[in-house]
């Protein structure tokens, strides 16, 4: 009997399977990721934890397709205490409706948590992205409950070291950057099961590398590990 047929037996459970749960969700815009998520997208009415130590590796572009979709509805998209200024032309170039995006500046983590929880609970925010710093398990739970109540898509960004700690958030994803692609590891999801690491091209910037662009500028290299005589020439060329 071929192995495939054996595996089709419903009595056999494979480690990478997860229970399909009917959760309201918004498509992520990445087919590979949608396949791995119960409900086929970012869970709405739940909190998602995104863990990464690097800022700017593509965490926003990962969320962007969903945010763009939500921004054309009537609810708000709230960014609580973003680490930098959101660049309006950048968001617009993604097709995001800026009229729905609201930024909240806070003075402390406590304020950020309060604002994020309030927004999630209000029911008038489609998505709430919060950079809340060190959120304890208790605050995450509060936000999760608020998201359930207000039916909002809540996202909390945290450091990678939190991955080892338990968290009440139903979806937890760890991000690392790898040259062209963004490496995703789902640490926890509804329905359980082990998820294979994903490598997504989130279109972090355009693909045409320096080799092409810099042909008319002498001495600019694709890698910084070139020997220094040429770097010297680079400086001369630029100066």
């Amino acid at each position: 009997m071929p192995l495939d047929l054996v595996l089709q037996n419903p009595a056999i459970w494979r480690g990478d399977q997860y229970a399909k749960v009917a959760v309201e969700s918004v498509p992520t815009g990445f087919v590979e990721l949608d396949k791995q998520l119960p409900g086929g997208g970012w869970p709405q009415a739940a909190l998602t934890e995104i863990l990464t130590n690097q800022r700017g590796i593509g965490e926003l572009r990962l969320l962007a397709p969903a945010l763009v979709r939500l921004s054309h509805e009537e609810k708000w998209i709230v960014l609580v205490a973003p680490p930098h200024l959101p660049y309006a032309p950048g968001f617009e170039s993604l097709g995001l409706n800026l009229a729905r995006m609201v930024l909240v500046r806070t003075k402390s983590d406590a304020e950020s948590l309060w604002a994020a929880e309030r927004c999630l609970r209000s029911g008038s925010c489609a998505a709430v992205l919060a950079w809340t710093g060190a959120g304890s398990q208790q605050t995450i739970r509060r936000m999760q409950l608020a998201a359930e109540e207000g039916k909002g898509f809540g996202v909390v960004f945290g450091p990678t070291r939190n991955a080892a700690l338990p968290s009440p958030a139903p979806l937890r994803i760890q991000l690392t950057a790898d040259r062209e692609k963004l490496q995703l590891q789902i640490i926890k999801r509804r329905g359980g099961g082990w998820a294979a690491p994903l490598s997504l091209n989130v279109n972090r910037s355009q693909r045409n590398r320096i080799e092409r662009a810099a042909t008319n500028i002498p001495g600019i290299y694709a890698t910084p590990t070139r020997p220094s005589p040429r770097l010297h020439r680079l400086r001369q060329g630029l100066a």
């Binding site: 690097q54 680490p83 009229a99 930024l103 910037s205 810099a214 290299y221």
Partner: protein, 517 residues
């Protein structure tokens, strides 16, 4: 015609204790050198205090007694505010000084689903304001007032039924000088019925025409004109707190009374509030002023109260301390806008009401400050730091659209050729920023460009940076003093973070301006 009279007995006492949740023994006194008790509340009465007693005797009975002389001016103002609040029930109302209000409600019966439901609305509303009143209904205003003064919560709709009811009421309730009622009492005439049984001409000769007229008016035998009440254009209320407070909760309790009044006033005006000012008066220091703005006009008292609560507790959160205990509060409606009622839809709606959507913005603003909650819009400028603007949430679709549309069209159309990107300053307001079609702009911008270290003659950020694309030259702003001449590159650091860096033309220093994320 159908008149409702709301008689607020012991109005001065009610007004004073309005802002207190569980008042202890309290009395209103006559003031002066030897003050006497004018009226007292139930806790005071249970201590054995009665009107007419000297205040020193009352204090001996209840050591924790709080007292205050009667304030006629405040009473008059408060009565007018109750009238403004009651304006939501009828447009024909009149003050019956010092402590009663007359409402002609024949025309409002249908709107409020009949008399019973209207009276329920009235009494529930009054108790929200912190008042208890005797509410009597009669076909004549004088009749309604007599019934209400007698403490009868009765509803009489026909003259024929009113007559026997009035006949049993004492003469003291009439608006007549004390000598008249005293003289009649000496004659053995105590009730209205007995008085009406006397010959009219003799009665008029002895006690003046006004007594006969008042009796006639009560039974609709004479016209009974009333001076109509004209509502003010803005709501201003001052409430003196019985005991100075420091905490938010009792303060909010007192404020709630005024907010309920304000809501009635707004409903009467068919308006919603957009700017509200709450002043907290202290004994020795300058008053604390709390201002509230509403994105969408509202007259929902719960919404106003939630915002006030957020604001007051927000003050505490920021370590702001009230300089002193609050002894009085003033609430002023600074700006109102017409607000019609919304038609209900035939089918259940799942759309979010517009007002609901703004609630969260107001909520956040009340706590974190107005500037802390904002939106951004792009602005047509080549310099990244000037190519966006802060704007009101939800408002940028207006100004943002003209700014955004040329860019969108340019990104879908053929990429602009390199010569046309150097736009002359005069046309810069409509020129799209120089984005070559292949470059997506970054999503994060640093508040101020961060100067990069130079490592081995190349820019570095926690390690060497790899240049990926560039340069994109931006040379702009020579006309407004913010002259920039920069070459932008996209670079990647060792950890994989993509950065937007630039090098100035006239120096060799590199700066980090954005992150791609």
């Amino acid at each position: 015609m159908l008149w409702v009279c709301m008689h607020l007995s012991d109005f001065s006492l009610q007004l004073w204790l309005q802002g207190l949740r569980d008042p202890g023994p309290a009395v209103i006194t006559t003031g002066g050198n030897r003050p006497e008790v004018l009226s007292c509340n139930p806790p005071a009465r249970s201590h054995g205090i009665a009107p007419g007693m000297t205040v020193s005797a009352a204090v001996a009975l209840a050591p924790d007694l709080i007292q205050r002389p009667r304030d006629l001016v405040a009473e008059q103002h408060a009565l007018e505010r109750v009238a403004a609040w009651a304006g939501q029930f009828t447009s024909r109302l009149s003050l019956a000084q010092p402590d009663a209000l007359l409402l002609e409600i024949q025309g409002s019966l249908r709107l409020f689903n009949g008399l019973r439901s209207l009276l329920l609305h009235l009494s529930a509303g009054l108790s929200d304001l912190g008042y208890t009143a005797t509410i009597a209904t009669a076909p004549t205003s004088t009749g309604a007032r007599l019934l209400a003064r007698a403490g009868m919560n009765s509803t009489v709709t026909e003259i024929a039924r009113l007559e026997p009811m009035l006949a049993g009421l004492p003469l003291i309730l009439l608006d007549q000088p004390e000598e008249t009622t005293h003289m009649l009492a000496v004659m053995g005439v105590h009730t209205i019925g007995e008085c009406r049984a006397l010959p009219r001409d003799g009665l008029a000769r002895r006690f003046g025409q006004s007594l006969v007229d008042e009796l006639d008016r009560a039974l609709d035998q004479l016209p009974d004109p009333r001076k109509p009440y004209l509502p003010p254009t803005r709501y201003t209320a001052r409430l003196v707190l019985p005991a100075p407070v420091y905490e938010t909760e009792p303060l909010l309790f007192a404020t709630k009374r005024l907010v309920m009044e304000l809501a009635g006033f707004l409903r009467m005006k068919q308006a919603g509030i957009t700017k509200l000012k709450l002043t907290l008066h202290h004994e020795d220091s300058k008053p604390t002023i709390v201002k509230l703005g509403f994105a969408v006009p509202s007259r929902d008292p719960q919404r106003i109260l939630t915002l006030l609560r957020e604001r007051l507790s927000g003050l505490e959160l920021h370590g702001f301390k009230l300089p002193d205990r609050v002894e009085a509060i003033t609430l002023v409606s600074e700006e109102t806008r017409p607000l019609g009622s919304r038609n209900l839809s035939l089918f259940p709606e799942d759309r979010l009401p517009e007002e609901q959507r703004w609630l969260i913005i107001e909520h956040l603003r009340a706590r974190l400050g107005v500037d802390a909650v904002y939106s951004i819009a792009s602005h047509p400028d080549h310099r990244p730091e000037l190519s966006w603007r802060v704007c009101e949430p939800g408002r940028n679709d207006l100004e943002g659209r003209e700014a955004a549309s040329p860019r969108r069209s340019s990104s879908t159309a053929a990429p602009p050729d390199s010569l046309s990107t150097a736009a002359p300053p005069c046309s810069s307001s409509t020129a799209p920023p120089p984005r070559s079609s292949s470059t997506a702009p970054p999503l994060w911008l640093l508040e101020t460009p961060r100067r990069l270290q130079i490592l081995d003659d190349a820019p570095a950020l926690d390690g060497p940076l790899t240049l990926l694309t560039g340069p994109e030259r931006i040379e702009s702003g020579w006309w407004d003093g913010n002259d920039v001449g920069r070459d932008y590159f996209i670079a990647e650091d060792t950890s994989g973070t993509r950065c937007w860096i630039f090098r100035e033309h006239n120096s060799t220093s590199w700066y980090l301006q954005g992150l791609f994320s």
